[in-house]
């Protein structure tokens, strides 16, 4: 096995592209090292991306925020500007693991690990976040929901690295929220979860809405119909009931030790309602 720490994204892409055996990208390592320890993967090459210029930084741009792929979630949580603009994304990211894990784990890693139960991903999908992908044929920017294709699988090609996650600048009257159900108070994997992102008009009616569900299907789900039902409303009871029904219907969950299909369906709807209420309040709705 070889460990390398390239200084440029081009070098990292080049090394990954020409790797013969299994290769792994290392940022926080909180998934990778566990999988190596368990013998699930035996990489012949580990590419540590933390020394690449810009990858450990959060930058505020004219369009919003650029969160480098190597930014630990603890650092993201300490960034007041991101926290103010995207509280739902930040609280989702800060739910991953313990303080020790927070010091290492990244939202890009959470996305690329492609767990259906990844906490930050429904919030990022609801936020319409984008991923900047660097690869052998250059760079492209894609919607985060197009990255995971199934449990543990992504759409990234050989040699490709996500170098940053982009979040838009927020307009007036905007809010987001993320909620998950776990049987204990913390340090657990979501049984089911929901992320909601809203913008309101001047009168407090919902102008745009995105709803995403976690641990409810093989990948995090963007439920477009759920967003559409919210538009034009002020989250009256009837709308919230329709929202829950659509979310429960959109789920394609599994039965496992953490929850049954029936339970996940029911709770997905409840969490979507509650997350929508929090997002609405954060957006200034009454």
């Amino acid at each position: 096995m070889r460990y390398i720490r390239p200084l440029s994204i081009e070098d990292a892409v080049g090394e990954l592209a020409k790797a013969v055996g299994p290769a792994a990208i290392l940022a926080g390592g909180s998934d990778l090292l566990v999988r190596m320890k368990g013998g699930f993967i035996e990489p012949e090459l580990i590419v540590d991306i933390k020394a690449i210029s810009g990858l450990a930084d959060i930058t505020e741009t004219a369009d919003g925020f650029r969160i480098g792929a190597a930014v630990p979630c603890a650092v993201l949580g300490e960034n007041k500007a991101v926290r103010k603009a995207w509280p739902g994304v930040v609280e989702a990211a800060n739910l991953i693991g313990s303080k020790q894990v927070q010091g290492r784990c990244t939202i890009t890693g959470n996305l690329c690990n492609a767990s259906p139960a990844a906490d930050s991903v429904p919030a990022l999908v609801a936020a319409a976040a984008k991923a900047v992908v660097a690869g052998p044929s250059g760079k492209r920017t894609i919607a985060v929901e197009s990255v995971p294709t199934g449990p543990g699988r992504t759409s990234l090609a050989k040699g490709e690295i996500i170098e940053a996650i982009l979040l838009d600048k927020r307009p007036e009257h905007a809010g987001d929220a993320y909620l998950r159900f776990i049987p204990r108070t913390e340090m657990d994997i979501a049984v089911v979860s929901a992320g909601v992102n809203l913008t309101l008009d001047d009168k407090g009616a919902i102008k745009t809405a995105r709803v995403a569900l976690g641990a409810a299907a093989p990948t995090v789900l963007l439920v477009e119909e759920a967003g559409q039902v919210l538009v034009g409303s002020k989250l009256d009871e009837g709308t919230l009931e329709r929202l829950a029904k659509i979310c429960s219907g959109a789920c394609r969950p599994i039965d496992d030790k953490r929850g049954t299909i029936e339970f996940r369906r029911k709770v997905a709807g409840v969490l979507a309602q509650r997350a929508a209420a929090i997002a609405y309040k954060r957006a200034g709705g009454k």
Binding site: G29, L33, M36, K37, G38, S98, Q100, E186
Partner: protein, 158 residues
């Protein structure tokens, strides 16, 4: 496998070592450097017994590669006391009997040190949340929480 040459700083001392590319920082500390304070409980980042601080961040050393310590500043339990002078947290853990078998204690002390550095006056709830990444199967946590509260008082007065 080719070894990786690493230059790092551990508890203020410049340290150089050779390690394997897949060797964890925990294994380097314990097996190559003789710093056996950090313990391996789970080896998968769940128990916190291997907690160390790297560049001011609390991490599980079992989830860090030894090679990654290049150019970093690592703080371990061995650097917590000043000679014979125990750190207030160590003193209060003794006074409150906040340990039984002791395996989790170095990790708790390092995590508590990090917690108090970032939040000198934590509430009980903040202490319990802050130390949720450290598991203890003996004490039931109450004595640990009280020791940290007491140490926080002492450190504020210092």
């Amino acid at each position: 496998m080719a070894g990786v040459a690493v230059s790092t700083t551990i508890n203020g001392d410049a340290v150089e070592y050779l390690c394997q590319p897949d060797e964890t920082l925990l294994d380097v500390l314990r097996d190559r450097l003789g710093l056996t304070g950090a313990k391996e409980g789970c080896g998968t980042g769940d128990c916190g017994a291997c907690s160390v601080i790297v560049d001011g961040r609390l991490v599980c050393s079992c989830l860090v590669l030894g090679a990654e310590a290049e150019g970093r500043k690592v703080e371990t339990i061995e650097g917590m006391a000043h000679g014979d002078q125990l750190h207030p947290l160590q003193q209060k853990f003794l006074e409150h009997a906040a340990l039984q078998c002791g395996i989790c204690t170095p990790g708790f002390l390092i995590a508590a040190k990090d917690l108090l550095a970032k939040n000198p006056s934590p509430t009980e709830e903040e202490i319990r949340f802050g130390l949720a990444g450290n598991l203890c199967r003996c004490t039931g946590y109450d004595k640990i929480v009280r020791a940290v509260q007491d140490a926080a008082e002492v450190m504020k007065g210092a």
